[in-house]
């Protein structure tokens, strides 16, 4: 195979200020690329985006400025970094000139075996450079907090480290190091870099021998949605790839190799956020982190979800459209979006259609999306239900997959439940709405008796299974206890509001 000589076939990545060329097979992840370049600070701990030992900083757009964004290098195709800027722990500081984050971690006993440390350094540095961190409180609503305090006195949000695992320290010294950080110095080059625009999105087209048998792998990043849809129409075997946090696991753990990948995560058309009188429309390629910031708490139910969705590292890569595109029964956005009565905009080269999310899933990882179609946007109708909750049942609070997830949006007028929407995940082959329970609630008085009656119905929703995350009995029990918990939560919120009012 001779490489094409057009500029597209070359993949240049700026790492720690030096331009390096990526020449490997297209399935290569950024972790293996960086280690191949001798940047061994980047470590493989799990290869599925769970441990954060491969966390790196990527320069991402933030309006007209740049935001240093920490990502799992193991889930990021190296080709996705074409034309982009990356910083690793080596680039933050060296033995003679430690970065403040490195200084704090080293001094306070934040490393023991040291293997997870460079990843912590990068995740922590991203939070160190978060522009809102040092801003006076109130400028940014703490939308992701689920009622627990996660911010230090310096504004450091511990969620920034939710995707990093340490097996040695027990985390206390890492937390203390994070909370001891000051603000970047005036001559801090990475801080200054934030004021300049992020690198433009390169169009990429790489064809490289992939597997040992010499099969070609192709990676394309088209410049427009139109071009992307045209490719999808003409080449139905092409795999559209957004944040890639699910696909990266397939590649690393299950050995999946795609003949042809189509990167759609940076298409402008898919990255808009529009608020109208009748609905909020979210571009499918917005990452969860971008939505957290962009929505500014406008959709409280999603605000309750974000902090429980995987980790900061994953939320920085994963897109809302991607979470629906995989069709997984245990994705965390569907239960919330079902409760919000969301609709999906599905586009192909020839047409656009709008499908209620409730009709989207048809079976285990099966949906109504046709070959050649992309999810381009998610529409959430207004007004929103007032009483909301996102209940995620899992073993671990940070970065775990739910055994059961439940989204609530209820409207109560004059003490009567006028509208009830409940989305469920983890209790069937697809996410689903608890329609029988909704019917038990609508038109009834918002009171314990109604809740008790509906809870019995709720316990019978879905068809839960036994697996290593939870037993079917526990899942059923979680459904059964959920409404009571929801009622108690709402009571507590109301009491808090009353308390504040007096």
């Amino acid at each position: 195979m001779t490489a094409k000589t057009t500029p597209d076939s070359q993949c240049l990545i700026t790492v720690n200020g030096t331009v390096r060329e990526f020449t490997g097979p297209t399935h290569t992840n950024a972790l293996d690329f960086l280690r191949g370049e001798g940047l061994t600070s980047c470590k493989e701990g799990c290869a599925e985006g769970e441990c954060g030992a491969c966390s790196i900083l990527v320069a991402r757009p933030d309006g007209d400025a740049t935001r240093w964004t920490a990502m799992n290098a193991c889930l990021l195709p190296a080709a996705a970094l074409d034309g982009q800027e990356v910083v690793t722990a080596e680039g933050l500081g060296d033995r003679t000139d430690l970065h403040p984050v490195q200084q704090q971690l080293a001094e306070r006993g934040g490393s023991q075996c040291g293997y997870c440390t460079p990843g912590f350094v990068c995740s922590m540095a991203a939070e160190y450079y978060r522009p809102e961190r040092a801003a006076p409180t109130g400028t940014l609503p703490d939308v992701e907090d689920t009622g627990e305090q996660h911010c230090g006195p310096n504004g450091f949000d511990l969620h920034a480290l939710s995707g990093n695992l340490c097996r040695c320290t027990g985390y206390r010294p890492i937390r203390d190091a994070a909370f001891a950080l000051g603000t970047p110095a005036v001559d801090d080059a990475l801080a200054a870099r934030r004021d300049q625009p992020a690198p433009t999105v390169a169009t990429t087209d790489l064809s490289r021998p992939g597997t040992p048998t010499g099969q070609l792998g192709r990676y394309r990043r088209p410049g427009t949605l139109e071009e992307a849809l045209r490719i999808l129409a003409e080449e139905p075997e092409v795999l559209p790839l957004a944040g890639g946090t699910d696909w990266g696991v397939e590649v690393n753990i299950k050995g999946a190799r795609a003949r042809s990948l189509l990167a759609i995560d940076r298409l402008d058309e898919l990255r808009q956020l529009d608020v109208t009188d009748t609905h909020i429309e979210i571009g499918a390629a917005c990452t969860l982190s971008e939505l957290e910031r962009g929505l500014q708490g406008r959709i409280p139910l999603l605000g309750k979800l974000f902090g429980q969705f995987a980790s900061r590292l994953i939320r920085n890569s994963a897109t809302i459209g991607g979470n629906l595109g995989t069709g997984s029964p245990i994705g965390d956005t569907p239960p919330a979006l079902l409760a919000l009565d969301a609709e999906l905009v599905l586009s192909s080269a020839s047409r656009q259609r709008v499908v209620p999310l409730a009709d989207y899933f048809t079976g285990y990882r099966q949906t109504v999306r046709l070959p050649g179609e992309l999810i381009t946007a998610i529409r959430i109708p207004l007004p929103l239900g007032e009483l909301t909750s996102f209940q995620k049942i899992s073993k671990r609070r940070f970065d775990d997959i739910s055994s059961v997830a439940i989204g609530y949006a209820l409207t109560v007028e004059d003490g009567i439940i006028t509208k009830a929407r409940i989305g469920l995940g983890g209790v069937a082959a697809t996410p689903l709405r608890a329609t029988a329970t909704e019917m038990m609630l609508e038109g009834r008085v918002w009171e314990p008796e109604t809740i008790r009656a509906a809870a019995r119905v709720m316990g019978e929703e879905g068809t839960p299974m036994d697996d290593h995350r939870a037993s079917a009995d526990y899942r059923r029990a979680m459904l059964a206890s959920s409404l009571e918990r929801f009622f108690a939560e709402q009571l507590q919120e109301t009491n808090l509001l009353k308390g504040e009012g007096t």
């Binding site: 599925e48 441990c51 690793t88 500081g93 033995r95 430690l98 006993g109 939710s162 997959i401 029990a477």
Partner: protein, 785 residues
């Protein structure tokens, strides 16, 4: 004070120093074994063919497909082994199976490729024909089938039968609890090459380089002097690289021998977790007698360790479990039987605590369970049973310094304001229907030394160069625990030089031979003794030189922080000048140090003796809040008081205490190993085989308030510079979390209810315990006189 424990003036030990590699860690410049292959040319990459059967005969192994994959260089099978096909020390664990696989995931063959992609494709192309055989997956299945291996030791002291007959209160029960995956962030890896001198050079992430050398020696059939093993540092080990690492080093060495090229063996996470051994889960059946005051009178128990498919370290793990079933409590009459179940899973192995946690958990579970039946607060029940002076353990070792238990407990009660907080918790529970809180205290007593006396020896090699710089080699390995930091501080203290005068070399078997594993918490004790011995030899020789130069007797020479002076400091000479002068006087500037722990003896047949140099003590208080709706909980506050003797390095010790605690809490509450026990073709497969399904504690599990203090006035006579071992004991402080959960669950029941709680106490397990507690209080069995 003994000479070993006595500190000179202005010692470097006891100072706060960060980990010696901290700067390397944070900048990424600290190298690990897997960072080395890119420094070599022609490296081959290895990938295993893993068994897809829990237990089967291998009928045929067809390698043809692998060799058709471009880039595949060699496939290694059992027939390629020139020496003895055994990766352990018990002759029950072939490096590669000849005709029978013993667990799902076992390596059947290894494929070497030009790159990892080729090796993986080659491994996928190997065809194995199996004839499935009956398999035992669960511990219960193995016990029912009477499938055991190894020794079946017995501790038998006093007359437990008579004591139980006469006891006012007798309880019995059964308790089975899970093992634990090490989940070191750096998976197993080795790199081997035949070097320029013709020796087999092995870089390995191992806690036991000498044993790697031994095992490679018998597998390759070459003497130990032709093999050198080097350990740079490990990215965590926790016991998982004490024994389990050897096979992978042997595969790399065998590959290097067969191909003449360097061979890299690095397990990815899925391969690592499905092939390597874990902490043993245990089953215990027990019967315990108490008097009316809650004093334990007698205990009878049978402990069955889930050993997996081969023995590995199961026998010593079981021994330590049995030697720790007493934890901190005096049990006059006791009979404990031990067994190792053999079943078709990974071969379970060492894990921080080495059986100690399992033994102690059995008794702590009993105490937590029966306290309500005895009408006693669990905290009071525990305290009443603490060892006191003059008592001895079930294996007849006198308990030294038992008063430290009381001291630790009191320091904790005062420092953590336990009584005030208990009252607060009671008020909270009154006011809250859906959530309950509780606060529990548990103690730790942990024996320090290898149970097997012979292992309690260590060596060191200290080299002083003409410019005054010092190079320290010792037999211990660095896995993050800070051993090298402590050894630097010991050497600096003994030689009387500044810390930066000394460099610590990577651990190598050609520098210090015949070492013991870096294990049993004892590496600072052992290697510290050896480093100190070597440094003292050099210092004493230098003192002679200085004595002549400064005109005083040599016993009046003092070495401190790079200055060598007479008593009172009237005359002095710099360390550097003294070293140079000594060189010109032809004084030897290097020394091999040696240490062995005195006073130990152990009869494994009788399970009797004094296997431990001393005991480490500690106690923790944990406060939790539990939600009735889903069984979820938060760890609100943890207070710890721990006995590290006179700390060699306080920041390092603090890190071991906190890290051990959280790891223990992970084992007891969160980490949930699940195996496929169905009759599907995937029977025996580990269901939780990655970070997405096996959850270790993250920042969200860290206690909201976490306060650790060291026991005051804790000098230890028998150990290096008055210190105590700290690696393992703090893990068991996490029993307090489990007991707090139990007590919080009891808050949902009527008073006096005994709460059974599974281990790990996941939210689901806690939820079911709450459901049970709310229904009725269930007694295991009770008989009152």
């Amino acid at each position: 004070m003994s000479q070993l424990s006595q500190r000179p003036e202005h010692p470097v030990v006891g100072e706060v120093h960060p980990h010696e590699s901290a700067v390397g860690h944070v900048t990424g410049s600290a190298l690990y074994t897997d960072d080395l292959d890119r420094r070599m040319v022609g490296v081959l990459h290895a990938y295993p063919v893993q068994s897809t059967q829990a237990h089967a005969k291998i009928l045929n192994l067809d390698l043809g497909g692998a060799y058709r994959v471009p880039g595949v260089v060699r496939v290694i099978t059992a027939t390629d082994i020139p020496g003895v096909n055994d990766q352990g020390a018990k002759h029950d664990e072939p490096l590669l199976p000849v005709d029978e696989v013993m667990f799902y995931g076992q390596a059947v063959a290894w494929v070497l490729g030009e790159d990892l992609e080729a090796a993986k494709a080659g491994a996928a192309a190997v065809e194995v024909d199996y004839e499935p055989l009956d398999s035992l997956i669960t511990l219960q299945d193995a016990i029912a089938a009477q499938s055991f291996h190894g020794i079946q030791p017995l501790i038998d002291k006093g007359d437990s039968q008579a004591a139980l007959r006469d006891a006012a209160h007798v309880f019995d029960g059964e308790f089975e609890f899970s093992g634990q995956e090490h989940f070191y962030l750096e998976t197993q890896n080795s790199l081997a090459l035949v070097d320029e001198s013709g020796q087999m050079m092995i870089h390995s992430s191992t806690q036991h380089p000498t044993e790697t050398q031994d095992i490679v020696s018998h597998i390759l059939g070459i003497p130990a002097h032709r093999i050198t093993v080097q350990v740079l540092r490990m990215g965590g080990a926790f016991g998982g690289k004490e024994m389990q690492s050897h096979g992978y080093a042997a595969v790399a060495a065998l590959g290097a021998l067969l191909t003449g090229r360097p061979v890299r063996v690095r397990l990815d996470r899925t391969v690592d977790i499905t092939m390597t051994g874990k902490r043993h889960g245990f089953h215990a059946s027990w019967k315990a007698g108490f008097d009316d005051d809650g004093k334990i009178l007698a205990l009878e128990a049978t402990l069955t360790a889930d050993g997996g498919s081969s023995l590995d370290l199961s026998e010593p793990v079981l021994t330590r479990a049995m030697c720790h079933i007493d934890n901190a409590y005096w049990i006059p009459d006791i009979r404990v039987r031990g067994r190792v179940a053999k079943c078709h899973k990974t071969s379970q192995t060492a894990f921080r605590g080495f059986g100690g946690p399992q033994g102690m958990l059995v008794l702590e579970n009993i105490l937590g369970l029966v306290a309500p039946q005895l009408g006693l607060d669990a905290r009071e029940l525990r305290r009443r049973n603490f060892y006191v002076q003059g008592q001895d353990t079930p294996y007849y070792q006198p308990v030294r310094h038992p008063e430290r238990l009381e001291a630790v407990w009191q320091q904790l009660l005062d420092g953590a304001e336990i009584e005030r907080r208990e009252a607060e918790i009671a008020r909270f529970n009154e006011d809250h229907e859906h959530a309950k809180r509780a606060l529990a205290l548990t103690p730790v007593k942990f024996g320090i030394s290898f149970n097997l006396t012979a292992f309690n020896q260590a060596g060191a090699l200290v080299l002083v160069y003409k410019d005054g710089s010092v190079l320290v080699n010792h037999g211990g390995t660095e896995m993050g625990q800070g051993l090298h930091t402590k050894m630097l501080q010991v050497a600096a203290t003994t030689l009387g030089v500044a810390l930066d005068t000394i460099r610590l070399a990577p651990t190598r078997t050609d520098k210090v031979p015949n070492t013991s594993a870096t294990a049993a918490s004892s590496s600072s004790d052992l290697n510290g003794g050896a480093v100190k011995d070597a440094c003292e030899q050099i210092r004493d020789r230098l003192a002679q030189v200085a004595a002549v130069k400064l005109g005083v007797p040599s016993h009046e020479i003092r070495f401190s922080r790079g200055t060598v002076s007479t008593l009172g400091g009237r005359e002095s000479i710099s360390w550097k000048d003294l070293v140079q002068a000594a060189y010109f006087q032809r004084v030897q500037l290097s020394a091999a140090g040696f240490y062995r722990t005195e006073g130990l003896h152990w009869d494994v047949g009788l399970m009797r003796g004094s296997p431990f140099k001393y005991f480490a003590y500690g106690a923790a208080a944990s406060e939790v809040e539990v939600s009735r709706f889903d069984g979820s909980y938060t760890l609100r506050q943890v207070d710890v008081v721990h006995d590290v003797g006179d700390s060699l390095s306080p920041l390092i010790d603090l890190g071991q205490i906190e890290g051990g605690f959280v790891q223990g809490a992970g084992w007891l509450t969160l980490e949930d190993l699940r195996w496929d026990t169905s009759d599907r073709p995937t029977r025996g497969r580990l269901a939780t085989q990655g970070a997405s399904t096996y959850k270790i504690p993250s920042l969200s599990e860290m206690p909201e308030v976490f306060k650790v203090s060291l026991l005051d006035k804790a000098h230890e006579e028998g150990a290096i510079y008055g210190s105590k071992a700290v690696g393992e004991p703090p893990l068991m402080l996490a029993f307090s979390v489990r007991e707090a959960l139990r007590q919080a669950i009891a808050g949902f029941a009527r008073p006096g209810t005994s709460v059974e709680l599974a281990s790990p106490a996941t939210p689901e397990a806690v939820f079911w315990a709450i459901q049970a507690a709310r229904e009725t209080s269930k007694l295991v069995s009770q008989r009152s006189s």
